[in-house]
C-alpha cells in the first residue's frame, strides 16, 4: 500500500554499532510525501531526524546500518538499488542541503567549480560545459556570479554559503529536496531570507521538500504537513494548522506548551524527564516514562501510526 505518490518510507529501522552496545536509532519510521508537497520533520536532538534524511540518501555509513524497511521513491525501492544506481539518484532526483553550509563546501576548490561539478554530474556533461548554468544558478539564489564564482568557501559568509548550497541543490531541479536544518547555523534575519528564497525556488522547480528542523514555528510556516519524531519514531503527522490547533499525541502537546509566548502569564511548561538512551530504549511506547497520560498498555506495546482524522495520523494508544 503506497501512501505518498513521491516518497513512501515504511518500517524503517536503523541501528548503530558502538562499544556501548547497539543504538536503535530508528524504530520503524513511517513517512510519506506527495509530489510538490512540503513536509516538516521536527523533534529533539537525537530523535532520528537526520538519520531518516541520510537513510533516504543512502548515506548511512559504518557503524550505522539499515536493518529493515523500505524507502520507495516513485516506483523504486531505494534500499534495493546498487551503489551505482544510487549514485544516479543522488544529486539528480534527490538533493540535500546541510546544516553547516561553510563546512559542506570543499575548502580547496572554488565555489563555481563545486556548483559546476554538481550540475555536470546530474546532466552527464563536462564541468566546463556546466559553467553557463553555474552563472544562472548563482543568479537564481541572489548572488552576483561575477563576484562569487571564483571565491573559496572560507571567503563566504554563512548566508552566502547557504545560498551556494541551495544553488547546488536546486540547479539540478530535483524531485525531492531534503533540507537538514538549513537555517540552524544562521542568524535570525538571514534565516528568514533563506527560507523565503527556498520557498520561492522550490515553487519554481516544483520540488517536494522534507524540511528537518527543531523549530516548530519554521516547520509550520514553511510546510504543508508536519511530522513529529520522538526517539526514533514518528509519533504524529498532521497539517501545519492542525498540529498547532489540535495536537493529539502527549509529546506534541508538551512540545507546543513549551514554546514561550510573549505576554503569557502562565509558567512555561516543559516535558518532565530526559530523552531516553537508545542503547536500552524503554519497552512499549518509547515515550511512556515521560507521558502524563500513561496506562498499562503503553509499557508493553509499541503503538502504530494510524489515522484518527482525515490527514491526521498519530501513534498513541489513547486514540486506538
Amino acid at each position: 500500500m503506497r501512501r505518498g505518490s513521491l516518497l513512501d518510507i515504511s518500517g524503517l529501522r536503523v541501528i548503530f554499532h558502538t562499544y556501548r552496545g547497539t543504538i536503535k536509532a530508528l524504530n520503524g519510521v513511517e513517512l510519506w510525501l506527495n509530489e510538490e508537497e512540503r513536509l516538516g520533520v521536527v523533534g529533539e536532538t537525537g530523535c532520528g531526524k537526520s538519520v531518516t534524511a541520510l537513510s533516504v540518501m543512502r548515506l548511512i555509513e559504518q557503524p550505522g546500518e539499515i536493518t529493515e524497511g523500505s524507502i520507495w521513491l516513485n516506483d523504486k525501492d531505494l534500499l534495493k538499488l546498487s551503489e551505482e544506481e544510487m549514485d544516479r539518484i543522488r544529486g539528480k532526483h534527490i538533493s540535500m542541503i546541510f546544516q553547516e553550509p561553510i563546512a559542506a563546501l570543499n575548502p580547496v576548490f572554488k565555489v563555481g567549480f563545486q556548483v559546476a561539478e554538481a550540475i555536470a554530474h546530474s546532466q552527464g556533461i563536462t564541468i566546463k560545459d556546466a559553467y553557463p548554468q553555474v552563472r544562472e544558478a548563482l543568479e537564481m539564489v541572489g548572488l552576483d556570479w561575477q563576484r562569487t564564482i571564483d571565491l573559496y568557501a572560507h571567503e563566504l559568509s554563512g548566508g552566502m554559503a547557504q545560498r551556494v548550497m541551495i544553488a547546488m541543490a536546486l540547479a539540478v531541479k530535483p524531485k525531492l529536496l531534503i533540507a537538514d536544518e538549513p537555517t540552524s547555523a544562521l542568524d535570525v534575519t538571514i534565516q528568514a531570507q533563506i527560507l523565503e528564497l527556498l520557498d520561492k525556488l522550490v515553487t519554481v522547480s516544483q520540488s517536494a521538500v522534507v524540511l528537518i528542523t527543531h523549530d516548530l514555528g519554521i516547520a509550520s510556516e514553511f510546510c504543508d504537513r508536519v511530522a513529529v519524531m520522538y526517539a526514533g519514531n514518528v509519533v504524529e503527522i498532521a497539517t501545519s494548522e492542525e498540529i498547532f490547533s489540535q495536537p493529539l499525541h502527549p509529546y506534541t502537546k508538551g512540545l507546543i506548551d513549551s514554546i514561550p509566548v510573549v505576554g503569557r502569564s502562565k509558567e512555561l511548561a516543559g516535558i518532565p524527564g530526559v530523552v531516553p538512551d537508545l542503547v536500552d530504549p524503554p519497552s512499549g511506547c518509547r515515550f511512556h516514562p515521560r507521558c502524563k497520560e500513561v496506562f498499562d498498555k503503553c509499557h508493553t506495546e509499541l503503538p502504530s501510526l494510524s489515522q484518527v482524522k482525515p490527514n491526521h495520523y498519530v501513534a498513541c494508544h489513547l486514540y486506538q
Binding site: L59, R90, F98, A104, A153
Partner: protein, 262 residues
C-alpha cells in the same frame, strides 16, 4: 637556513657537475693512481687513478636521481594504499594496513638489503628496493589524513550530489592529503640517501664504475689506512648532505607547525 644552503648547494652540484668537475669521473688513469690530495687532485685519486673530487661531484647526480625516483615511487604507492585504506575503512583498511605492518616489522636497512639482493644488483633495483621500504610511512600518514577528511561535512555533501567513490577519492580526498605527505617525503630524503649509500657500500646498489657515494666509500675500504682520502671525502659528503636534509626538514616542520612558531 643552514639546511637550505646545504641542500641547495647539493642540487647545484648535481646540475652543474660537468662544469665543476675537473676530470672525467669514470676514465681510469693508472699512472696517477692513489695520489694524495694535491693541487691537481684536490681530494686525491683512487686505485684506478680517477679523481675523487670529480667522482664525488658526479655522485651528487646519482644521489639526486635516487632521491627523485624513490620519492615518486614510494609516494605514489604510499598515497594510493593509504587513502584507499583510510577512505573505505573496514576490511579493505584491515588488509592493507596489515600488509603495511608486515613491511614495518623489519628493520629498514635489512629489508632494503634483502629486497635488493632478491631483485639483483644494480642502481634501478636498489631504487625499487628502497621505495618498497619507504612507502609504509607515507601510507600510514595518508591513511590518517584520509580518515580525517572522509568525515568532513563537504565529503558528505559531495556524496549527496551523487559523486562516485572513485571521484571523491581522487578529486576531493587526494588533494587534501598531499601537503602533509609532501612534508613527510622531504623529511625522509636524508634517510633515502643513507639507505642508498648503505646499499652501495655493501655492493648491492650502484655497480662500478658508477660514482655513487656509498660505492666510492666501499672502493676505498681496503686502502683506508694508507690512502684515507678515497673513503673520507665521499663519506663526508654523505654526512653533510644528510645533515642538510634533516635541518631542512626540521625547518619545514617548524614553519608548518603553528605551535612552534614564535
Amino acid at each position: 637556513m643552514v639546511g637550505t644552503f646545504i641542500v641547495l648547494g647539493f642540487i647545484l652540484l648535481a646540475i652543474f657537475a660537468p662544469l665543476l668537475s675537473p676530470y672525467d669521473p669514470i676514465k681510469t688513469n693508472l699512472p696517477e693512481r692513489l695520489r694524495p690530495p694535491s693541487k691537481e687532485h684536490l681530494f686525491g685519486t683512487d686505485q684506478f687513478g680517477r679523481d675523487i673530487l670529480s667522482r664525488v661531484i658526479y655522485g651528487a647526480r646519482i644521489e639526486v636521481w635516487i632521491i627523485f625516483l624513490v620519492t615518486v615511487i614510494s609516494g605514489a604507492i604510499g598515497i594510493g594504499v593509504g587513502i584507499t585504506a583510510g577512505y573505505f575503512g573496514g576490511l579493505v583498511d584491515e588488509i592493507l594496513m596489515r600488509i603495511t605492518d608486515i613491511f614495518l616489522a623489519f628493520p629498514r636497512l635489512i629489508l632494503a638489503m634483502a629486497l635488493s639482493a632478491m631483485l639483483g644488483r644494480g642502481l634501478t633495483n636498489a631504487i625499487l628496493a628502497i621505495s618498497l621500504v619507504e612507502w609504509t610511512v607515507i601510507a600510514r600518514l595518508a591513511r590518517a589524513e584520509a580518515m580525517k577528511i572522509k568525515s568532513q561535512p563537504y565529503i558528505e555533501a559531495i556524496r549527496a550530489v551523487g559523486a562516485s567513490n572513485f571521484r571523491i577519492l581522487f578529486l576531493h580526498v587526494l588533494p587534501m592529503c598531499l601537503s602533509p605527505v609532501l612534508v613527510q617525503l622531504t623529511l625522509r630524503m636524508g634517510t633515502i640517501i643513507l639507505t642508498a649509500a648503505g646499499l652501495g657500500f655493501l655492493g648491492l646498489g650502484a655497480q662500478p664504475p658508477t660514482p655513487e657515494w656509498g660505492a666510492i666509500v666501499s672502493d676505498g675500504r681496503s686502502y683506508l689506512v694508507q690512502q684515507w682520502w678515497i673513503s673520507t671525502f665521499p663519506g663526508l659528503f654523505i654526512a653533510v648532505v644528510v645533515l642538510g636534509f634533516n635541518l631542512l626538514g626540521d625547518g619545514i616542520r617548524d614553519i608548518l607547525d603553528p605551535r612552534l612558531r614564535r
